[in-house]
């Protein structure tokens, strides 16, 4: 916990003791003469979590009067004006669980999303590339006949979500709201006791903020004090460093490759026709799963977790070879796939990967659940990012709360990262609402502990489950672990109530 000169925890020090404490402190520093602007909530970071918190606070009649500010180093106007051709899709896509979608609907943000660009899916096929054991997730066991199948999750581009949240915030008016776009946090420190002129802010975080880019020279930095400082500022959270909260975790030594693909028409059309399917195949020999998640109009987004070497190799391949590798990864055996991953692209044989795939596929028995062939890559969408696990030791400290990636970063194999962040935000906004309606100080530890106790264990559970899956599915060959995990998958697939329980957990209910 950060040092607070007059501790927020033990605010009373008897006069004789206080004399000694106060003596060493500078009373008239250069900065004390400038009284900071006081805000109720200051959120650092304008990603989906930070904007989600702001939108939730603005949407609730109880918290809509709070004076709130958001600080984002990128240009929010660009995010607000984001536009893309309806046939094109961004490669930064997330899968929203029904409870995340419900939250967005509740705060009135969903209607600000371009729903032409989001895609529900009702079925998920997951199988083990080593043993072929398979599990399929859908709500058929909970869906009565003649009713539409419930959605497993909804795919949406992050840019669409961010734009929608900004739209929702703009619709709430600009009273008591300040969006500091293109602005960085130059420093955070404890405030000072204004003695006779004002309140004692010595346990309040005071941020020095500075505009970035061209305006940096002309505009001086300004100071704002936060009753509650929310760190939605990502994995290297400055707010977390200020609060002196440690974080532990590890790097997976894996990269996730993303790309927007277009698919061939499925060989057998889905029934009922609206049903869309997500596919994930674990590839123990290559270091992680490959997943294909549906986007509108027979497009799909690819997430392939693999070693950094494989990732670099795949990114260097020309488009046809890259597509051949993706299609091979959903179809071929581990041995064939490892061989193809080792093939180098030579200019004398430009179609070597495709030829290799079409030859080997003839000799491979194909399961029923494979996705349609990927036929095209949207230009410029192949990218990769490192996979990491992090969990902050605490989510709260006096007048500080962490949400989203600042609090936890998990393996993306279950597509839960953004959903955990939105669940944090939902819980924190509920906590703030409760505090405001009960006269509590929203920055007080007694208030914030409600948020932290609601979220810490669920996040640790999901993060741990993803970590365990990652480790179990990184053991290649036909050893006992492969046998055990395959048996587990087969058993769960045949026990509807266990599957239903797992799905409800993953869904966030």
């Amino acid at each position: 916990m950060r040092p607070i000169s007059r501790a927020a925890l033990r605010s009373y020090v008897c006069p004789s003791c206080r004399h000694g404490i106060g003596a060493g402190r500078r009373r008239f520093g250069t900065k004390t003469d400038q009284t900071p602007d006081i805000y109720d909530v200051v959120c650092v970071g304008g990603g989906p979590a930070g904007l989600g918190l702001l939108a939730a606070l603005r949407a609730s009649p109880v918290t809509s009067k709070l004076k709130v500010a958001l600080i984002e180093s990128q240009d929010l106007n660009k995010a607000r004006a984001w536009n893309m051709d309806s046939a094109q899709f961004s490669n930064r896509v997330s899968s929203l669980t029904p409870s995340s979608k419900e939250f967005l609907q509740k705060i009135g943000a969903w209607e600000h999303l371009d729903t032409q660009r989001v895609q529900d899916y009702q079925e998920m096929q997951v199988w083990d590339g080593e043993s072929g054991s398979r599990i399929s997730f859908d709500w058929s066991m909970d869906t009565p006949a003649f009713e539409d199948m419930r959605t497993v999750a909804t795919m949406t581009e992050n840019a669409n979500l961010v734009r929608g949240l900004l739209g929702r915030i703009a619709a709430s008016g600009d009273e008591n709201l300040k969006l500091f776009s293109n602005t960085t946090v130059a420093g955070i420190e404890n405030g000072t006791d204004l003695q006779t002129e004002g309140p004692d802010l010595s346990a309040w975080p005071v941020l020095s903020i500075k505009p970035t880019g061209a305006m940096a020279e002309t505009q001086p930095s300004s100071r704002i004090a936060a009753r509650l400082l929310v760190g939605a500022d990502g994995i290297n959270s400055p707010v977390r460093s200020f609060a002196d909260i440690t974080t532990h975790g590890w790097d997976y030594n894996r990269h996730g490759i993303v790309a927007t693909l277009s698919l061939a028409d499925p060989i057998t059309p889905p029934f009922p026709a609206y049903i869309r399917t997500a596919y994930q195949r674990f590839l123990p020999a290559l270091g992680g799963p490959i997943a294909l998640l549906p986007l509108p109009n027979n497009n799909a987004t690819l997430v392939w977790s693999t070693t950094p070497e494989n990732a670099a190799h795949l990114k260097s391949l020309p488009t046809p070879a890259f597509l051949a590798m993706v299609n091979a990864a959903f179809r071929l055996s581990m041995t064939d796939l490892s061989y193809m991953m080792g093939m180098t692209q030579s200019s004398s044989e430009p179609t070597s990967h495709e030829d290799e795939l079409s030859w080997r596929i003839q000799h491979t028995p194909l399961p029923a659940q494979i996705p349609p062939m990927a036929t095209g890559v949207q230009t410029g969408t192949v990218a990769s990012f490192p996979l990491r696990f992090r969990h902050a030791a605490q989510y709260i400290s006096p007048r500080v709360a962490l949400v989203g990636d600042a609090a936890h970063v998990i393996h993306p194999l279950a597509g839960q990262g953004l959903n955990l962040g939105l669940a944090d935000v939902a819980a924190l906004s509920r906590t703030i609402e409760y505090a405001v309606s009960h006269g509590m100080d929203i920055g007080d530890l007694l208030t914030l502990e409600r948020y932290s106790s609601e979220r810490y264990l669920p996040n640790a559970k999901i993060g741990g489950a993803c970590d365990l899956l990652h480790k179990m599915y990184n053991i290649p060959g036909q050893g006992p672990v492969t046998w055990a995990r395959s048996l587990g998958l087969d058993v769960i697939d045949k026990l509807p109530f266990v599957k239903s329980f797992l799905m409800k957990n993953a869904e966030g209910y």
């Binding site: 925890l9 033990r10 605010s11 009373y12 309140p199 309606s437 509590m440 007694l446």
Partner: protein, 348 residues
């Protein structure tokens, strides 16, 4: 499931934790009390609670269980106001126009939280169902009032209310407050039951008077809970609510507070000897005292208040239970198990 008496449990733990240096600083004689002419608070209790000062606002300290109970106080007040709001000049049902007094505010846990809900703009609608327009908090302990004031300064909103006078901490007793508002000063400032202060009803100031975890700390040698309640009701405008909380004196509460809560570690959570079970108050006793108190509060020099003082009176009671891991829960019908909230509405 156990119901714990928060204040005394807290007190015991803190009195042992007070640092010698702090103790040393206290004046030798009459350490924390002002020399009030009268007081309904015993010197023993006063010194015990002052010992709590250093940790009063520590969220993990001995007062933690009291902090956890605080939101329920707001909910109980809101439920009383929803049942029957006091008559006010403005007819709007969400105007912030209720004047509160918190008796025995201690370090200000409740008083500060209520002051935070006072809107900075008086014409603005009340942000919460408690509809506070002002708060006057009194406590006989100089040290606790000082703790309360210092803590209130750490919140700019509350600090602004302190500066504007909408929120006041007074180091005084209820008896002195009543004496100072009585227009014709009575010859004896003693406002106890033996000498009903003349004309005290002519200047009641408050729409809401709160008395959380206080009634069981009344000094039996100088006054009675009954006389103290009468004085609280004197401070109340007609149609106002007197709201408090205490612990009942029954077999289940004996079992929970004395036997289970004070059992040796690891079962017990309260040091042995913390509770003074005999000072606890049962809801029917409180109800009867309140009725008697309303009549006494209606007394004037010339006439004595009769049953007519009870017209329009309302009585409300709600049990509350502390569940480890879950916190405080309101459980209707659990009044006799331990902690409970109670409320009396003075007839219009």
């Amino acid at each position: 499931m156990t119901s714990i008496r928060p204040t005394l449990r807290a007190l015991h733990a803190a009195s042992t934790a007070t640092r010698p240096a702090c103790r040393h600083y206290l004046p030798q004689r009459s350490p924390i009390t002002r020399n009030h002419s009268t007081s309904s608070v015993s010197a023993d209790e006063l010194s015990h609670f002052s010992a709590l000062a250093s940790s009063w606002w520590d969220p993990m300290g001995p007062s933690r269980i009291l902090h956890l109970m605080n939101p329920l106080r707001h909910e109980f007040i809101a439920s009383c106001l929803a049942d029957s709001p006091p008559p006010t000049t403005t007819n709007s049902s969400n105007a912030a126009n209720l004047h509160y007094m918190d008796i025995g505010c201690g370090g200000g846990i409740f008083a500060e939280s209520l002051a935070r809900t006072i809107p900075l703009d008086p014409s603005a609608p009340a942000p919460t169902a408690t509809r506070a327009a002002s708060m006057t908090a009194i406590d006989p302990s100089t040290m606790l009032i000082q703790v309360a004031r210092e803590h209130a300064r750490m919140d700019p909103t509350v600090d602004a209310h302190l500066r504007s006078g909408k929120f006041k901490y007074l180091n005084t007793t209820l008896e002195d407050v009543l004496a100072s508002t009585t227009p014709s000063p009575s010859p004896s400032s003693k406002a106890s039951e033996s000498t009903p202060s003349t004309g005290a009803i002519s200047h009641p100031q408050f729409d809401m008077v709160t008395l959380f975890e206080v009634i069981e700390h009344i000094d039996p040698t100088t006054t009675t809970p009954q006389a103290f309640l009468s004085n609280c009701l004197r401070a109340l405008k007609p149609g106002g609510w007197l709201i408090g909380s205490t612990i009942s004196r029954t077999f289940p509460s004996f079992l929970l507070n004395q036997v289970i809560a004070e059992a040796p570690w690891p079962i017990g959570v309260v040091p042995r000897g913390t509770h003074e079970w005999s000072k606890f108050v049962n809801p029917p006793e409180l109800h009867a005292w309140a009725q008697e108190g309303l009549m006494r509060a209606a007394d004037s020099a010339a006439t004595r208040g009769g049953p007519s003082a009870l017209e329009g009176m309302k009585w409300k009671c709600m049990g509350t239970i502390y569940v480890p891991g879950l916190g405080w829960k309101m459980v209707p019908g659990s009044e006799s198990w331990g902690n409970y909230f109670w409320a009396v509405k003075k007839g219009v």
